[in-house]
Structure formats: C-alpha cells, structure tokens
Chain length 126, copies 2
Amino acid sequence: MPATTSAYQAVNLAQKFSLFSEHWSQKIIAQMNDYQFKLARLQGEFIWHTHADTDETFIVVDGELRIEFRDGAVTLQAGEMYVVPKGKEHKPVAEREVKLLLVEPSGTPNTGDQGGARTTPGDVWI
Amino acid sequence: MPATTSAYQAVNLAQKFSLFSEHWSQKIIAQMNDYQFKLARLQGEFIWHTHADTDETFIVVDGELRIEFRDGAVTLQAGEMYVVPKGKEHKPVAEREVKLLLVEPSGTPNTGDQGGARTTPGDVWI
C-alpha cells in the first residue's frame, strides 16, 4: 500500500458502533460544515420533543425505529431514512435495539426544547 | 394498520436505487434544511474537481469507492463514509459499480468548480 494513502481514513459505522453500548447517547463520528453525523443506540421510548430551528435526519443502520407524531407515525427499517421537519413534535420508539445514524446541525440537543433528565452531552466524538 | 400512519413515508434507499441505472447522475431523495441527500451510481473515473464553498459527504451503500487526492487516497467500502473538506481537490474512482449516498448543500454541482461535459442536473428528485 502506498504510504501516501495513510493520512486519509474512512469512517466505518460498524467499527464506531463497537465503541459504545449505552442507549440514547449520541456519539459524533463526522462533521460536514456545521452539521454533524452522530451514531446512537436506541431502545425503549424517548420523550416527546421538538426542534424549533432545524430539521433532523434519521437513518436506520440496523433494527426498526418508529417515530411517532401526534397524528401518526413512520416506521424505519435498516436502509431507510426520514427527515423530521423543524417544529414537528416527535417521539422515537424502539421495541428492540436500533442502531441509528443521525444528521443535524452541531449543537442540536437530543431532547430539543424539552431538556430534562433524558438530555445527554451532544459534543462527544468517538 | 392505523390509517393515521399513512401520511408519513420512510425513504427506502434500495427502492430509490431501483428507479435509475445510469452512472454519475445524482438523484435527490430527501432534504434537511438547505442540505440534500442524493443517490448516485458510479462506475469508472470521474474528473478532478473542488468544491470551494462546502464540505461533501460520501457514504457507500454498496461496492467500493476510492476518492483520490493529489497526495493520497481513501477507499470506502459499504457502511463507510468520508467527508471531503471544502477546497480539497478530489477525484472519485469506482473500478466496479458503486451505490453512493451523498450529503451536501442543495445546488452543489457534481463537477464543483470544473463544470464541463460531466456536469449533470443537480435538481432531479426521485
């Protein structure tokens, strides 16, 4: 292998998921301008919350995620994505563990406008 | 199934890839704020180009993609991603067909600052 290639490293999602096991904790794996790509493992129900200032992208890597809205829901399987519009109240629910790739502006709190006990640090890189 | 869920539809990457077969043509599948998620099938060599104003995210869904730089390269397998920094000259190369998910600001031309014959419309939704 040419030595010149060593400075550039792919980000491998499976390898990054192997670095943590806790649920509902977001880990940053890449940044594009002022947006971040974050991994999370979800299991159980989250809280209803809203991001007033930004859309939020959910991409399911493994498992099945239901995103509930006040008037319906969308279910995502592995290889499926959904963009929750800004200002749209939502609640993620995972009956079994889901591996998720999130894309959103840096500094977006996981609990949106709700805050509270389920809020986790949003600045942890792995 | 509750009728109330029908308004919300997941975006399925495999289904979207089934809608086109041409190479080097970007198809928009989702928008988050002023950023877009685009699918592309790549095969062969692209041209050297630079995006002066934005980073560009490559996520390989299937196959193997090499992104060449003037002083090295990075190779991405399925499940791997890389963010090419703004201003960084690069050339994507796919020995065999690659299925790619791109994330970048809406209106980002595929040929960056180079323009020319390989430029394709950047506003096609599927």
